[in-house]
Subunit: 373 residues, 2 copies
């Protein structure tokens, strides 16, 4: 193989490739990636990497002098390419599996691996599909991923569940058993069987979200029950889906929460940060006391001290108090964009809804915490 | 005690205080700091912290309502004060060792410790002294600290040695046995016994350097054989000095290196980074081959690959080659500010001088590495 690449394009592509590459040293072959020329294509090459779960296939502009393919350590190539300065990078492979990279006055020789040893990513034609604007897609991920489970104890919760609502909008939902986040989003085009649902794993969504802008304006999502592909422009991510059934969350979303509190988001965030700053616990419990026009936040009364804070709030009901993990509140307040937010409560034992007053498409539910102080 | 402080001043002061506070949990008392009112002073309070080696005493503007002193956890107070938003912070202590902090609508209650249990920092009148501009002082630290030893095997090398040259300039010198850095700097005023030398520990110089701008324009250094104080404005650092004798470095600085190579600093840095990027070793050995007008850098020839690079250089002597740890070269190239740098070599076994062509006050010496490739 012999190709000429633009250094900046190469560096950007390698950055994406590297974030998919397996960082653990348990499967050394997965520290590599594959670079290959395409049949009948003289102006693009294809890069691909995989960690078995998530794969990336990316085409970048290149001048192909001689066709072929190589499999080489992703981090090493990236570390070196980052330092190069000249515009053009020449890559050439020899029969002895050595790769030669030349850029300006710099010359490198790197060992490579038989391409056949690396797991190949095959892009597929999949039966179900969606077209969604990249901006909407980013929101759907941002508004749900924070509530997905992070530990392995319930694998079916370690992602975001995608399904269709009865009025043909996409529904993105996540929960870790203590909280839930849901976005309902209409999409441009869809072929999506009614009643079907799939669970997209965290890692895929995190990666795809990070690089979403390179999809262009629209991302094409296609899937079946096993895998999902995200494509746009010259880039395609393919991920395995999480097997298992996502719990039915509808019964958890309260319908009769009749206490409504509106509060300035920034003040609420600030107040939560002050009150939770003293806590030694990871989830930082906080008690919130609602009274007419006022919201009072209290930390636990502990040996290491205590904090209280008050902020104005739009509330006209009876006084009542409720406990939360402030981490959960801060997570959801971090993704809502409006100046004001709404809390819908029923009582101190029932799940509370947190949402934006002007955006009905998003809803978040947090289970309260029993506070004994 | 009852005082009112400006939040921003308090936050800045706490940041400095916190970086002196001992982070290890072996001596819990050292996680605290002391805040005290001063006799006959109603508009300043004094903060102090120490890790036994390094202490900080800082005065900040305050409105003193009631005199007294408190000793409280530094990190906890800092974490909370960072989040506060109102301008004025009220701090009040009770007889039960509870501290009350109020800011806007936020109220905190924190436990404190008997002030008497905390090691007190006493500022002293010391016999020797220097006055140096803050800019010069920062240079002296930057140009030497990188070459000081980082591990404990030779404690006397874990700092910068300060002494006086025969023409009454200060001499700052550091070495880790593999390299050496020396700055000679005239100072504004000095009371410095001839022949005296002191070794200032790394931690003190790192901290003082980081916060040097708050000294104002001039820093006053005073010392004896045990301790050194750095003061300016309302802030004083006091550090123990390293006991022991600093080696005589004069014999190490070569006098008869007759090969002179000038090279563009940025190109050299870039080239070193390219060539060293492939190495698996921490110090990243590199071979440099000098020939007429050219400098060729080569990495080790290893199973994991190899890199070579070439850059232009001003050199007219015979071809010769020499090995270095590229980490050491990059460290010194990182502190020299001129566009061109000079290398003065003798042969591939002798120490090499690296310096700026226009600044005679700084000199760095690096021991070569035997390269067998």
């Amino acid at each position: 193989m012999e190709i000429i690449l633009n250094r900046e394009l190469l560096s950007d592509a390698l950055q994406n490739i590297n974030s998919v590459v397996d960082k653990s040293s348990t499967k050394p072959i997965l520290s590599n990636f594959v670079m290959r020329t395409l049949e009948g294509e003289k102006s693009k090459v294809e890069f691909s990497s995989t960690d078995y779960e998530l794969s990336l296939v990316e085409k970048i502009d290149a001048e192909v002098k001689e066709t072929g393919s190589i499999c080489v350590n992703a981090k090493k190539v990236f570390d070196i390419v980052k330092e190069l300065r000249d515009d053009k990078v020449y890559i050439r492979s020899t029969e002895q599996l050595w790769i030669h990279i030349t850029c300006g006055s710099s010359e490198l020789r790197l060992p490579s691996v038989e391409v056949g040893l690396y797991p190949q990513t095959v892009l597929e034609e999949l039966p179900e599909s969606l077209k969604i604007s990249v901006e909407d897609f980013k929101s759907c991920i941002d508004m749900t991923l924070f509530a997905a489970m992070t530990n392995e104890s319930r694998r079916n919760l370690m992602g975001v569940c995608l399904s269709l609502t009865s009025d043909q909008k996409t529904r993105w939902i996540s929960t870790d058993g203590h909280r839930l986040a849901q976005v309902v989003m209409p999409v441009k085009e869809q072929v999506f069987s009614e009643g079907k649902e799939v669970i997209i794993p965290r890692k895929a969504l995190t990666e795809v979200r990070r690089t979403a802008d390179i999809f262009g304006k629209i991302v094409n999502i296609s899937f079946d029950s096993r895998v999902m592909q995200f494509s746009g422009g010259d880039i395609t991510y393919k991920t395995r889906l999480i097997e298992g059934k996502f719990p039915n969350c509808d019964p958890i979303i309260p319908k009769d929460n009749n206490l409504e509190i509106s509060v300035n988001r920034e003040s609420f965030v600030n107040s939560l940060r002050i009150v939770s700053s003293i806590s030694m616990e990871k989830l930082r419990p906080v008690k919130i006391i609602f009274s007419h026009g006022l919201l009072r936040l209290e930390s636990e009364k502990a040996d290491y001290g205590e904090v209280v804070d008050e902020i104005e709030a739009g509330y006209e009901g009876e006084n009542f108090q409720i406990g939360f993990n402030s981490r959960y509140l801060l997570d959801v307040l971090g993704v809502i964009e409006s100046d004001e937010i709404l809390l819908n409560c029923k009582n101190s034992m029932s799940p509370t809804i947190i949402k934006s007053p002007r955006d009905e498409s998003f809803i978040s539910v947090i289970m309260p915490l029993r506070v004994e102080w």
